[in-house]
C-alpha cells in the first residue's frame, strides 16, 4: 500500500485537533453568552464575574490557536474513542443548561445547604463590623446571634424591614409559619449559603397559600425571640423571581 493511500484510508473519523478546537470554541461561545445575557449571575458571584469575559476571550483565542495548525498541518490524527468520550463529558454542562433552562437554587437546596438549620441558635460568632445599607437576611441572622451586632446595626424588637425572598418550610418552625429565604453567594452558586427569617402571618394560614419556592415581597416588623428575630408582616406580595436571585 502506498503512503498516500495508507494515509487516506486512515482518515475516516474526526480530526482530533479540529474537534478540540471546536470544543474550545463552543465553550468560548457559552462564556460569551453568560456574559452578554447576564445569565452569569445565575452561576457566579460578583467576585468572579470576570471569569465570563475572560473565559470567552481566552477560550476563543485557544480555539483559534488550536484550529490554525489543524488547518495547515497535513499531519492529521483522528479522534480516538477516549477523546470522543472526553469531548462528550466536556459538553455535559452545556447539555444540562439546555435541558434545565433557568435553573435556580430553591427550598430543596436551602434545606440541604443550611449549615445549622434555620435560626437553630448555633453559638455563632457574628462579624464585628456590621454592613451598611438596607437591612438584609444576613443582618437579621447575625443580629439574632449577637446583641452587639444588633445594637450597631440598629436592629431591635419592632424594627421595620422590607424583604424579598422565596418561601421555605423548615421543620423547626411551628405550623402556620414559613420562612423567607435568600441565598448569599461569594464566588459561585456552589458556595451559596441560605439565610432565612421566620415569618408569622397574622391569623390562620392555609399551608398551600405559601408554597415552597414562591417569591414574596414582605413588609413588616421584626419581633425578637430567644432564638432570634421573626418577621410579622404588614403586607405580603407575590412577585416574580428577580433576575439576580442571589445576594452578596
Amino acid at each position: 500500500m502506498s503512503r498516500g493511500a495508507a494515509r487516506a484510508s486512515s482518515h475516516r473519523g474526526f480530526d482530533r485537533r479540529a474537534v478540540r478546537a471546536g470544543a474550545l470554541g463552543l465553550w468560548s461561545l457559552v462564556f460569551a453568552w453568560l456574559w452578554l445575557s447576564g445569565e452569569m449571575t445565575r452561576y457566579l458571584g460578583p467576585r468572579t464575574y470576570w471569569v465570563a469575559p475572560f473565559g470567552a476571550v481566552a477560550l476563543g483565542v485557544a480555539a483559534v490557536v488550536t484550529a490554525v495548525p489543524a488547518r495547515r498541518s497535513a499531519d492529521r490524527s483522528d479522534l480516538s474513542t477516549a477523546d470522543g468520550v472526553r469531548f462528550g463529558v466536556l459538553l455535559l454542562p452545556l447539555m444540562a443548561i439546555v435541558a434545565v433552562p433557568g435553573a435556580q437554587l430553591g427550598s430543596q437546596a436551602a434545606a440541604t445547604k443550611a449549615p445549622s438549620g434555620v435560626l437553630a441558635g448555633a453559638a455563632a460568632a457574628a462579624p464585628g463590623a456590621p454592613a451598611s445599607g438596607p437591612i438584609g437576611f444576613r443582618d437579621i441572622y447575625y443580629a439574632g446571634q449577637s446583641e452587639s451586632y444588633a445594637l450597631e446595626r440598629g436592629l431591635a424588637d419592632g424594627t421595620g424591614v422590607e424583604l424579598t425572598g422565596f418561601v421555605t418550610h423548615p421543620p423547626s418552625l411551628p405550623e402556620g409559619s414559613f420562612a423567607l429565604t435568600r441565598f448569599y453567594v461569594s464566588c459561585c452558586a456552589a458556595d451559596a449559603i441560605p439565610y432565612s427569617v421566620p415569618v408569622r402571618p397574622p391569623g390562620p394560614v392555609v399551608p398551600s397559600a405559601y408554597p415552597d419556592d414562591q417569591w414574596l415581597e414582605i413588609r413588616g416588623r421584626l419581633g425578637q425571640l430567644d432564638t432570634g428575630f421573626t418577621l410579622s408582616p404588614h403586607s405580603i406580595t407575590r412577585v416574580k423571581a428577580p433576575d439576580d436571585p442571589y445576594l452578596y
Binding site: 473519523g13 478540540r20 480516538s80 469531548f87 435553573a103 456552589a190 415552597d212
Partner: protein
C-alpha cells in the same frame, strides 16, 4: 504490564523521513512490544499507554456519533418529561454548572502554563534544578506557589508537566499542593473574608504555614517514586519534549497548541466529572448532618475536612464560605481552608487521572493527620 507504543508523527520535524524500523508509517499505528529499535533522531515518539486498544483506536466516528445521539436524546427526554422542574434536578444543575464555569478558565490557564513549560523551557533548566539537593528543592518548589496565581485545578497539569520534564517528583507534588493555598489571590481573599472577625493576619498566616507544612510533608512522603512510577500515562498526549529543541518557531507554536488543547481536554473532562460528583453530594447530603458534630475541635476539624471534600470549592473562594461556618471552631475553619485545596471530590478524579493508582489514598493518609494536627495547634494559639 504490556507496553504498547503509539507512533506519532511529529509536526514540524525538520529531519528526514526515517520511519520506525521494520514498520509501515502511519499516525496512531500501534506496534507490538519489542519494536523499539529506531534511530535516535527518528521522526517518531513513543507514548506508553495502558488504555485499552479499543479506547485509543482512531477513527471512532460511530461510537462518538452514538454517544452524542444518546446525550441529545437524554436532553430531549428531560425537557419533555418536565424533570427539569424538580428541585433536586435544579439544585444539581446550578451547582454543577457553576463549579464548571468557575473552574474551566483556570484549567485553561494551567494548561497554558503547562504547555509553555513543555515547549518553551529548555531541558537544561530542569537539569540544573534537578541537581540541587532535595532539601532545597522541596521548600523552594512549595514557595513557588506565591508566584503562581492559579487555583488547584490549574496546578495539577503544571505539576504533572514539571515532573515529566525532570523536576523531582517530591518537589512537583509540593508545588502542586502549595500553589492553590499560597497564591496571592487566595491569601488576599482570606484576609478580606476574615477582616470582619479581626482575624485576617492570623488566618492568612495559619493558612500559609499549614499549607507549606502540608506541601513539604506530603511531597516528601509521596514523592519517593520516580516520575514513571508516579505519573499515569495519557493516551493521545502529544509527544514528549526532548526533540523540541530541533523545531522552528512555527512548529513550536503548533506543538504549544497541541499541548494546550490536550491538557485542557483531559483535565477539563475530569473537572466536569468531579463537579458532577461534588454537585450530587451537595444536593443529597444535608450539611446539618455534619454540622451537628461541630462542637469539639477534633471532630469539628474532621467534619469540616469532610465538608471541604464534598463542596469542592475553588481555593480562591473558599475563605468566604469558611468564615460563614460560624458554628465551627476557628481551627476547624483553618482545616477547611487547607484540606479543601489539597483533596476534594473533583481533585480526587483529577489526581486519579494524572497519577497512578492509590495516589489519592496515600495523599489522604498524609493530609488528614497533618491538617488535623495543624488545625488543633492553631486553635490553641488563637483562642
Amino acid at each position: 504490564m504490556v507496553l504498547r507504543l503509539r507512533v506519532v508523527r511529529s509536526p514540524g520535524w525538520e529531519g528526514g523521513e526515517e520511519g520506525v524500523e521494520g514498520g509501515e508509517e502511519g499516525p496512531g499505528r500501534e506496534w507490538p512490544e519489542g519494536v523499539l529499535a529506531m534511530p535516535p533522531h527518528a521522526n517518531v515518539s513513543a507514548v506508553a499507554t495502558t488504555e485499552s486498544p479499543a479506547l485509543s483506536r482512531p477513527g471512532a466516528f460511530p461510537a462518538v456519533a452514538v454517544g452524542g445521539s444518546l446525550v441529545a436524546a437524554a436532553v430531549v427526554a428531560v425537557r419533555l418529561a418536565g424533570m427539569g422542574g424538580h428541585p433536586v434536578v435544579q439544585s444539581f444543575v446550578v451547582v454543577f454548572t457553576s463549579i464548571v464555569v468557575e473552574a474551566l478558565p483556570f484549567i485553561l490557564l494551567g494548561a497554558l502554563v503547562a504547555a509553555g513549560i513543555e515547549v518553551f523551557v529548555p531541558q537544561d533548566a530542569f537539569d540544573r534544578v534537578a541537581r540541587f539537593p532535595l532539601g532545597l528543592q522541596l521548600p523552594a518548589a512549595a514557595l513557588g506557589g506565591f508566584a503562581f496565581p492559579v487555583c488547584e485545578c490549574g496546578s495539577v497539569p503544571v505539576a504533572r508537566r514539571l515532573i515529566a520534564r525532570g523536576m523531582h517528583p517530591a518537589s512537583g507534588l509540593a508545588f502542586m499542593l502549595a500553589a492553590p493555598i499560597l497564591n496571592p489571590i487566595v491569601l488576599a481573599s482570606t484576609v478580606i473574608a476574615y477582616r470582619g472577625l479581626g482575624l485576617s493576619f492570623q488566618m492568612a498566616a495559619g493558612r500559609v504555614l499549614l499549607g507549606l507544612a502540608l506541601a513539604v510533608v506530603a511531597g516528601w512522603a509521596l514523592g519517593g517514586d520516580s516520575a514513571a512510577e508516579l505519573l499515569k500515562e495519557r493516551p493521545g498526549e502529544p509527544p514528549p519534549a526532548p526533540y523540541r529543541s530541533a523545531m522552528r518557531a512555527p512548529a513550536r507554536s503548533a506543538a504549544f497548541a497541541d499541548h494546550l488543547a490536550a491538557d485542557f481536554f483531559f483535565m477539563g473532562s475530569f473537572v466536569v466529572a468531579g463537579a458532577a460528583l461534588a454537585a450530587a453530594l451537595q444536593t443529597v447530603i444535608p450539611q446539618s448532618l455534619v454540622a451537628g458534630l461541630a462542637r469539639t475541635p477534633v471532630v469539628g476539624s474532621l467534619a469540616l475536612m469532610g465538608i471541604a471534600f464534598v463542596l469542592s470549592l475553588c481555593s480562591e473562594a473558599d475563605a468566604f464560605v469558611a468564615v460563614s461556618l460560624t458554628q465551627f471552631p476557628i481551627g476547624a475553619q483553618l482545616a477547611f481552608l487547607v484540606f479543601g485545596p489539597a483533596v476534594d471530590a473533583k481533585l480526587a478524579l483529577l489526581y486519579s487521572a494524572s497519577f497512578r493508582r492509590r495516589f489519592v489514598g496515600r495523599l489522604l493518609i498524609v493530609t488528614v493527620p497533618v491538617v488535623l494536627a495543624g488545625s488543633l495547634w492553631f486553635e490553641a494559639l488563637v483562642r
